[in-house]
Symmetry: none
Subunit: 210 residues, 4 copies
């Protein structure tokens, strides 16, 4: 999984350690606020207050409110990536790996549902330019599954045509996202375990015939 370049956000402060620390505070505060009130209804004052410092200080570490949104999206993606990497088991067939990856992915999506939803709903508020960085991350996650599918294709454990790989990877990712943004209905009818079990077996049925 190749890492996408980050967007560099200028800061008035020199010390990189401090920048990192402060931005962590900002993100932690902002995530909660964005989730509960949305990006537009959250004020910079609220962000600075919840971050534990003044509005002036906030602007020492960012250049605009939208930077905070970028920082937040980026941090969320980082978390997702961490969760995905933990799931990877080596020395097994692509099929086995896929099953584990889907299960792990759905577990991560379940834990991060509010954050996933946040990205989906607020991404459009990013400047066109910045949005690309975030979309790239999204693509990265898709390619995570693409790679597993490829591996299974090569080792013969998965029965899938080349042109189908990309789409199937999308399907899997959407499976996870749908658990977050259709939760109002899905939760009423299925537990995470049930959901995982059914969706996994549908996918594997398609790809292995079993």
């Amino acid at each position: 999984m190749r890492m996408e370049p980050k967007k560099a956000i200028p800061s008035m402060v020199k010390d990189p350690k401090l920048i990192e620390k402060r931005r962590e505070q900002i993100v932690e505060a902002a995530v909660e606020l964005f989730i509960s009130k949305g990006f537009h209804k959250t004020t910079t004052r609220e962000i600075s207050r919840a971050s534990g410092f003044s509005i002036g200080t906030l602007y020492e570490y960012i250049e605009s409110k939208e930077d905070v949104l970028y920082l937040v999206c980026d941090a969320i993606h980082q978390n997702m990536e961490r969760g995905l990497k933990e799931v990877l088991v080596n020395g097994v067939s692509g099929a086995v790996m896929l099953k584990a990856a889907i299960e792990g992915f759905l577990r991560v999506m379940d834990e991060m549902q509010d954050r996933v939803l946040l990205i989906y709903q607020e991404i459009k508020s990013l400047p066109k330019d910045t949005m690309k960085y975030v979309m790239a991350k999204e693509e990265e996650i898709t390619s995570f599954f693409e790679e597993i599918l490829h591996r299974g294709r090569k080792d013969g454990s998965l029965n899938i045509d080349e042109p189908l790989v990309k789409l199937m990877a999308h399907n899997i990712v959407v499976l996870g996202e749908m658990w977050t943004f259709r939760r109002w209905s899905l939760r009423k009818n299925y537990t995470l375990e049930q959901y995982t079990e059914i969706q996994t077996s549908l996918i594997l049925h398609d790809l292995t015939g079993k």
Copy 2:
């Protein structure tokens, strides 16, 4: 497909015909604006101007900016419903009907992609109360596919367990939505026809074994 009740938006104007006409103008203007700039960045003045009348007149037909968003969401859903209904063929098996419905649904989603996206991204800006009306519509669409699946189950043309019906309906709807909100990637790799063909065959493979 049972119709959900609409939220009644009070108007200062008495003539219902006129209300309908003006609200159509409002919706037409607002959809474009919301799609291109987003709900929050669109001003009420812009809406009124694009609708062809003054800000005062706009407020004769709505009570708040959020009402416009509701009107827009409602109109979009109505269009979707119309599209879906046209697709229904009678006197055929559930399986055949499902295939046609998916194709038709994807066609509709493709035509309305911007609008579908709009609903997904701005729905959270609706007052909690109003949001329910819009979510109900969303559920309605899902149940459209649920009913087809049920019919196929009964006539034996579809092989699906009862508890799976709801989830499969969701899967199908998400299939359509994903064509709109992952278009940045899907379009690069698949045409609508390819997408339809692959997804339909995956679904039918799951449900008919063929």
Copy 3:
């Protein structure tokens, strides 16, 4: 009691009977609204609705919202005058007449408290020009008591110097007004009868020594 000239308010309508009728409707509706919400917070729409006709019709009988306020003030003053005139007894001494007049005046003020207050609080919203007409009415009421005092002075029943007459008249009128605009405190401690009794005896004590 010489009548002050009224301000003439132009109307689009020719029939004077109709004008009078409509304006009565307007006043009746507006008084209630002004009392409960104040002049500024009452809209012309509300006035027309409460009057029983459309906003367009309202403006056939007035030229501005302030005209309504004038109409209202004028009607209230007319009522007060009517009340005062009823109180006048002839063929008695000035002292007896004064006692009766004060009692009657206080009764009228008690009955019309909300309206009296209304004039006091909203009079400043009248155009400078129009305000004069209303102030003149106020002066008229004062001179009502002035005349009684004069009569008592002449017939020897009241012991009062000429230059004191005007001030005493004012004092009496203010006595009545104070029952309306200090009611939040006076009502807690005195009934109208007690209030009347005390104030009357204070006045008469000053003017007759008894």
Copy 4:
């Protein structure tokens, strides 16, 4: 004279000294504007401009336009209190004290006539809740005279029955207010000195027989 609690108006600014200073500027500017144009016809922009800062800054020190009105009323009352306190002479009989108090009170009312009028005419524009604070001040002033009357009653210098005390205190206060809100007529006929002399002697005549 027991002090009534003030209504606390939240401010975005932390420094209490600065808050006080800025609010003084606001009050100074707003009093003039309210007197000349009335509360409703004065805009917040005018207030901020006349205060010497921007509209944004104005709202750092208040939460709503009505807060300004409260601030203004409160400041006026404070001035009145200061004026009243200066008038108090100790070590004298209640009767002597009363005479001095009335004279002082009328002098204060004369100096502050526009402001007194302002309170009377705009108090109703305050939120019900806030109005109570202002009314309490009004009561406070009445009780200032009540106390003097009580003292005179106790030391035998004033001849007044207990139940009459409250009403007489009201009468005195109204005497002062009437000098402001009937000035259009009183000024034409009496100077402040004449007015004071006559009213004082009427009161004292009632209370001492002299």
